[in-house]
Symmetry: C2
Subunit: 365 residues, 2 copies
């Protein structure tokens, strides 16, 4: 791992992408097994985070993900009832980004040794999050794996948690949302993220441990929103906001969406570029302010904006491409659904993404 | 873990069942979120290993599972291209046991640090297994989780691997298979398992380590099928046979199936009792011979039949309840599909399961 230890998060994004691409290529070779049969894969979502499968007239999406190393924060705080929001956000918001309204979730909990109380707290939170997202938890498995599972040594139980969500293509859509119908001049609406969501924790933990030592979670938190969180641990555990219900409401209202980006690992530019097709680019000059915890970590951890915007969402969790004449209605609907939303920029005929960041700019080819 | 260390596998089945039941209860409270909407859960599969969800006229099944600690055997042998059969068998065969023909699979690989070559070998095997099972791999995720993942220290990469499979209710069935239509006098057909499948590895590894020490996988294998495996490691890595295609062929032929049990953790009796409804019992006096590796482990590890039949499949991987007049046709069809199958016993009006084991009997209330 010498090659990857050069980057600030301690793992290689390129190596991960190569392995994912290779895994996808193996998977794609199996698509023909269902050609013309129930479960037929749609071939047009290559590279997306959720895949379309067809059963008769029904067009379903499927998406799998876990909540990664954010779990260590919960272990440190001995608080497990918010992780369900992170778990559902990761897959449900990948689905809605492709136009699939999430309907069902199946989850797997891998534990070193079972703690009934911890699992109970996790499932209570998952139940709450499922109600928020209006989906049904219709599958689950708990596996006791001994030394195959690790984590914070002081925790009652170490575990990993992942899920697969299923959704149904919104009836107003002829095709999944992919960015293919987007045009220069279209407007980009941003949804604010009140948390790290479930990404960028390797860099954050490394930085916090360097600054505050092994028990960094107990260090007093001093971001500009310090009234909300007493410790760095609390600030880092803030749960993911699930955007799916808000975006589904936009589709219900018939508002024209031409692409949706869920901002996860890789940050704003990398995730948004996935919806930029046909050589389009974007100017995003009115994103939300960076999350106070991220801003503070950059200051005290001496991290550059370039690095921070590469690993963290920086306060924007979803970007929605709509038509100029509908932008105000999109913003208003999202606000009415309880989200912070604003026009963040527009698409350009020239490729590349420009982010205005404080008084400076970040440009991505 | 003092309470659970009393049992031979080192974990508490009762505690696991209680936590699973509690998790299911939390999940069930979310079913109402989809009442009358796409993704509506069927309420009648309480306690089953796969759940039914409905989209319009389509009735789908969903099942999630992992391959647990069998992965350590692959790590020890540095051979990763057979685990895909185990991964697919766990979920696909839970689905077919309820009458859902598996169509799609989404998988998640959690790794400590990424090894491209190991993942490539895993995915090649998953591809082969998907072709055998005639399903499409339409979702996947690889997560690098550092010290949250452990395993055999000598391995190139430690990992856990789980998946969620989707299937479609076989068109010949009005309801998922549950055992509700079974009657006394119905015949039980057994499918032979040529491996441990992906269950019972805690007990097996504990026994092998006690007998042969830390490097038990290199110990020469001396079961009656020693021509097939040079070491205990090789014998323990034997992949799961996927039964779904064979059972789907039975349904295609219109053969009457009244219940199917996938023999996984908990052994023959526990898994078969799940399909025994309405107070029925069974006499299984012609099961397959115990797998040679299991037989040999009992001998050299001084394990009783009671213990072995509680944790291992003992050579029978699936049990199918059919009508007496169709039993010969069921066996013939399965054999034609390439499986070892035989009539293993019959259902009784009195509850309880009796297994004939060698010259003795095991009885379960």
């Amino acid at each position: 791992m010498s090659a990857s230890s050069a980057n600030p998060a301690g793992y290689s994004i390129e190596e991960g992408n190569a392995a994912s691409r290779n895994a996808y290529n193996w998977s794609k070779k199996t698509f023909a097994n269902r050609t013309g049969k129930p479960g037929e894969p749609a071939q047009d979502l290559d590279g997306g985070f959720s895949n379309e499968i067809r059963f008769g007239a029904e067009r379903l999406g499927i998406s799998s993900d876990g909540i990664g190393t954010k779990i260590e924060v919960a272990e440190r705080l001995n608080k497990y009832d918010t992780l369900g929001y992170d778990l559902i956000a990761m897959t449900a918001d990948d689905l809605i980004a492709a136009g699939f309204v999430p309907t069902n979730l199946s989850n797997i909990i891998d534990v070193n040794h079972l703690d009934y109380g911890v699992v109970d707290e996790m499932m209570r939170g998952l139940h709450d999050a499922a109600n928020f997202a209006q989906l049904a938890i219709t599958g689950g498995e708990i596996a006791e794996l001994g030394n195959r599972i690790g984590g914070w040594p002081g925790a009652k139980m170490n575990f990993n948690w992942c899920s697969t969500a299923i959704g149904v293509l919104h009836p107003s859509l002829a095709q999944p949302l992919s960015g293919k119908t987007a045009q220069a001049g279209h407007v980009v609406v941003a949804l604010r993220s009140p948390s790290f969501r479930s990404n960028g924790y390797s860099l954050a933990r490394k930085t916090l441990e360097r600054l505050f030592g092994e028990n960094w979670h107990e260090a007093p938190y001093d971001g500009t929103d310090a009234d909300q969180y007493a410790t760095w641990g609390e600030a880092m555990l803030a749960p993911s906001l699930i955007y799916a219900p808000g975006v589904a409401t936009l589709l219900d209202a018939g508002l024209p969406l031409h692409g949706v980006a869920h901002i996860t690992g890789g940050g704003v530019a990398d995730n948004f570029q996935r919806v930029l097709k046909n050589g389009l680019g974007a100017v995003l000059d009115n994103l939300f302010e960076p999350l106070p915890a991220m801003q503070r970590l950059c200051e005290i951890g001496d991290l550059s904006s370039e690095t921070a915007y590469l690993y963290w969402n920086m306060g924007t969790g979803m970007l929605i491409v709509t038509e100029e004449t509908s932008a105000a209605a999109v913003v208003a609907s999202l606000q009415q659904s309880g989200y912070d939303a604003q026009v963040a920029g527009y698409l350009t005929a020239e490729s590349g993404v420009m982010l205005r960041v404080g008084t400076g700019e970040l440009r991505y080819a």
